[in-house]
Amino acid sequence: MAERKSTLHRWELIALAAVAAVAVAVFLLMRRGPGTNLEARIYHSGELVKTVDLDRVPDGEIDLPGEQKVHFEVKDHQIRFARVDCPDKICEQAGFLKKEGDIAVCMPNQYHVKLYSKGQGANG
């Protein structure tokens, strides 16, 4: 195998800079959503199991019927995974979701929660 250049070519640098710029732009646009008038939709294996109105539900823990491994916590109109029985705790590390479009996923238990504007369609 021929030896390769150990640093980036100019075209590679330009390509990576372009991708990074697009990623930053998309990220900032996605974060522009409002932080109020939101509801959290909790899904299990793709099926909606609970909708939480973040403006009305008081601070506290939310349990799902028949589910012992996954819990949620609502605080200051935000929601997060809490006290989850899973090996990697990645879902809990996502922290509180506060803006429209924020999402947290628990792969081992196949739950995910995403914030939507109230009245928005399920896949909007």
């Binding site: 250049k5 991708v19 990074a20 998309v26 090996p87 996502a94 922290g95």
Partner: protein, 184 residues
């Protein structure tokens, strides 16, 4: 027979190295706590070495075996994520290396592998959850670029030591692969 055994042994060492690197990076705290799942991708160093110096079959085999190890230790969901990410990473790196006129650098191949590893994992997650979860994609793209540059640089640093495996430059044969499974 000596050469086959040596090839199989070296592949076994690379597989073990891939597993150890995965375990080590699992001990590192989340690099960006608010966006979980960002990892160093150290195991990709082994995959890249295989692609550059041992052939695409060795790279695919190491990726498959590592995914199998993940299946045995962490279950089907983690296996699917690892396999999807590994497959996408190897696929894009192979594609990039096939463009001989481009002669991509180690870092570029590494970055593409890292980015597509993340894309593959997001795809697997979307499949499992039944909904698109590409909201993480922008951050994972940036993380893939940074981590890919790091692992590409690390590969360049350790290459003088890894080049001491001369027999791996011969393509593995089917019997080598079967012998490997017998040995493990």
């Amino acid at each position: 027979m000596k050469t086959n055994v040596r090839t199989v042994t070296n592949l076994g060492l690379l597989f073990a190295l891939s597993v150890v690197l995965s375990l080590v990076e699992g001990l590192v705290p989340p690099l960006v706590p608010s966006v979980p799942g960002i990892k160093l991708g150290l195991a990709n160093i082994v995959t890249m070495y295989c692609l550059f110096y041992a052939g695409w079959r060795s790279a695919c085999l190491v990726t498959l075996l590592k995914s199998g190890f993940v299946f045995l230790t962490r279950g089907f969901t983690a296996f699917l994520m690892s396999f999807a990410g590994g497959l996408c990473a190897v696929g894009i790196m192979l594609l990039l290396l096939s463009f001989k006129r481009l002669k991509p650098s180690y870092q570029m191949v590494s970055v593409c592998g890292a980015v597509f590893h993340n894309i593959g994992q997001l795809g697997a997650a979307s499949l499992l959850l039944g909904t698109l979860v590409f909201g993480y994609l922008p951050v994972l793209l940036l993380a893939g670029i940074v981590m890919g540059l790091i692992t590409g640089t690390l590969l360049r640093i350790v290459l003088p030591a890894l080049k001491r495996f001369p027999d791996l430059q011969k393509r593995g044969k089917i019997i080598d692969i079967l012998l490997f499974f017998v040995l493990i």
